[in-house]
């Protein structure tokens, strides 16, 4: 995974609560056996006017011009602003894959669903939560200033707007480190291989029926 570096990006406001992973990437695209290729189908049912299927070239499909990501300059957005419980529903990691491939590096919401939140960190995406009031303030700001930008500084855990206003955000240390260092979780866990083996031997003594096959 690539290391998460400070960047400045356009904030796309997507004003809906409870956006589920079915909406982020509809099920027909989950038939892929690959990790990439999902970006053009991000929010497929909202983004296009026709029905999308895997393998179809999206560049010729009719766009829903009313959808935020089809409006100028949000095609270039790298920060998504949304409401509470973003990413609820299915555990599909295809959702953060699609968001990352579109270009989103940071998501801002009042809250995120647990599994989705966790999946983001495995894919270099930083999900940030703010209180309802701040989220509302940011939506109003986005309404007033088309294409407003934030500089995302994970090291200092701050967002800075173009006027220099600073918004601090909270994040658990291990999540921050994982993104900043682009760590390989599996490699990290395997560095504790001996402890896993010791646990396993003891576990087998305690619950031998789990080790019969």
């Amino acid at each position: 995974m690539e290391k998460f570096c400070t960047f400045t990006g356009i904030v796309a406001p997507l004003d809906r609560a409870n956006i589920d992973t079915d909406a982020i990437i509809p099920k027909q695209f989950l038939k892929s056996i690959h990790r990439s290729g999902f970006g053009p189908n991000l929010f497929d049912e909202w983004r296009y006017l026709d029905h999308g299927e895997p393998g179809i070239d999206c560049s010729n499909r009719p766009l829903n011009q009313g959808f935020i990501l089809n409006k100028d300059p949000y095609q270039q957005a790298s920060i998504l602003l949304t409401r509470e419980n973003f990413g609820c529903g299915s555990s599909r990691e295809h959702a953060p894959w699609a968001l990352a491939e579109f270009g989103f590096k940071t998501l801002i919401a009042e809250s995120f669903a647990d599994i989705f939140y966790n999946n983001c960190f495995k894919n270099g995406i930083l999900p940030i939560t703010f209180s309802k009031d701040i989220i509302q303030f940011l939506f109003e700001k986005a309404e007033e200033n088309t294409g407003f930008t934030f500089t995302v500084n994970l090291e200092d855990q701050i967002l800075i707007d173009s006027s220099g206003n600073v918004f601090e955000f909270k994040l658990e240390v291990y999540r921050k480190n994982a993104l900043l260092n682009g760590l390989d979780d599996i490699g990290l866990t395997l560095s504790h291989e001996n402890e896993i083996i010791v646990f396993e031997k003891n576990h087998q003594i305690m619950q031998p029926w789990l080790f019969t096959s």
Partner: protein
């Protein structure tokens, strides 16, 4: 010092190490695998040249995008076929036990786990599927994970986790006659909301939960994720132990006795402290119907679509083509789906069959289908003659799979069609682009099929 919750006990008995940064390494006893969320994990293992830590703890089954009729013809959609073939190849080359599409024991992953005894009390169980919460009904710590974590478990037998908070949902008293576990969990979601359980492991307790069958408990735990919690739990009792006994992969003989002794300790201590407690009275719960595009948009059958002042329901009502103030009983259906990991077990089919027996589906219903959760459920139902009851009433009787719960296969709604569904999600497009889903219990879906409209199955009013 206060006692421990069931979640605390399961957590502690699987704790490999606590890291300095507040995370823990949790040992995983069982990983269930299906075709949709696993190919990239296998690919990752190949790229990094890593191997499975304990291959025998992994069990696979294709369920999401397999056909539910004419299965002997194979999978016609080449992309779906490639995904299922890829699962077969991966399981063969990594020596993972798989119930292939044509295996008589094939079924929905969350139905076959408990049914085969692959799910046992006290286990930690994961799967690249959010409805893994189902298995918590057996007193196991079970939750859905992403594909990166699937690979992590394959190669390390562990997950990096942060402990959740404890929530107890206590349902006092007894459900009224005819009220199902589905109505109960929909009422719970309606009360706490779809983000109400975020950050928590939810234990369900109280007399109404204790009185549920294992099938009912699985329905409740299944939809814990729709209440925002990754894991739902129910304490082990005699109902659990009786259910597990004799299952193909359950321990036998001396090991069984030893296991049962341990499993009987799998309850929250009487002095355990929960971070949050929600209490409900079972008597207040009626047949429930969702009216919007989130499971929390739910009301009882005698209700009407609520008025809201801030317009927050507008996108959902537009999508559903419904207006505030509409009576639920005035909603007409096009299709009826009985199935999914929520409601495709034998008890669900029995309850639905009871409603349709000797009746015909309404002329206005374009399609009513029953998709059993597994081969053994289908066989059992056929032995009891339930298939005949459904077919005589005009239902289609299908092969096991996820089917129209998420419409990855050919079973789906067309744009604008309205469905009474026993599944778990009423999201936009979930059952097919433009399709409109109302979540209900199996008897409610069955009664809607007969009547063409939603009716209160607990009263006799729908019998006409």
């Amino acid at each position: 010092m206060s006692g421990k919750t069931l979640y605390d006990k399961l957590w502690e008995s699987h704790l490999v190490r606590e890291n300095d940064d507040g995370t823990s390494l949790l040992y995983i006893d069982r990983q269930l695998i299906h075709e949709v969320t696993s190919p990239q994990a296998f690919e990752g293992m190949r790229i990094t040249n890593r191997s499975l830590w304990r291959s025998e703890t992994n069990v696979a089954v294709p369920d999401h995008n397999i056909p539910t009729k004419d299965r002997y013809k194979g999978i016609s959609d080449p992309i779906s076929k490639l995904q299922v073939d890829t699962l077969d190849e991966n399981c063969d080359s990594f020596q993972i036990k798989e119930f292939k599409m044509t295996d008589p024991n094939q079924g929905i992953v969350h139905v076959i786990g408990p049914e085969q005894g692959l799910t046992l009390p006290g286990m930690t169980i994961v799967c690249g599927d959010s409805h893994t919460s189902t298995h918590g009904a057996l007193g196991a710590l079970a939750f859905g994970i992403g594909t990166s974590e699937v690979e992590h478990v394959m190669t390390t037998q562990c997950l990096i986790q942060q402990k959740s908070k404890n929530m107890l949902i206590k349902v006092n008293g007894q459900l009224k006659k005819g009220i199902t576990a589905k109505d109960l969990i929909l009422a719970i979601i309606g009360k706490i909301g779809t983000a109400g359980g975020t950050g928590y492991a939810i234990e369900f307790g109280g007399d109404a939960i204790k009185a549920l069958s294992m099938e009912g408990r699985m329905t409740v735990c299944n939809m814990t994720i729709e209440a925002g919690a990754r894991a739902g739990l129910i304490a082990v009792d005699q109902t659990t132990i009786d259910y597990v006994k004799g299952k193909p992969f359950a321990p036998k003989g001396e090991l069984w006795e030893k296991a049962v002794t341990y499993w009987k300790t799998l309850q929250s201590d009487s002095d355990a402290e929960f971070d949050k407690i929600v209490e409900m009275d079972a008597i207040d719960i009626n047949p429930m119907v969702t009216w919007g595009t989130s499971p929390e948009m739910v009301i009882d059958i005698d209700g009407m679509i609520p008025f809201n002042e801030n317009g927050i329901h507008e996108p959902a009502l537009n999508y559903m083509d419904l207006e505030k103030g509409t009576r639920i009983k005035d909603i007409a259906l096009d299709k009826v789906f009985i199935g999914s990991c929520t409601n495709s077990r034998i008890e669900d089919l029995r309850e639905a069959a009871k409603v349709v027996e000797g009746k015909k589906i309404a002329n206005s219903i374009k399609l009513a289908m029953v998709v059993p959760g597994s081969g053994p459920v289908k066989e059992q139902a056929e032995q009891e003659g339930l298939d005949k009851i459904f077919i005589d009433a005009g239902f289609e009787w299908r092969e096991p799979g996820c089917s129209m719960c998420l419409a990855m296969n050919a079973d789906r709604l067309e744009p604008g069609e309205r469905c009474a569904s026993t599944s778990n999600r009423n999201f936009e497009g979930r059952q097919g682009q433009g399709g409109r889903t109302h979540l209900v219990s199996p008897p409610m879906a069955a009664a809607a099929a007969i009547n063409g409209y939603f009716v209160n199955v607990v009263n006799d009013e729908w019998v006409n």
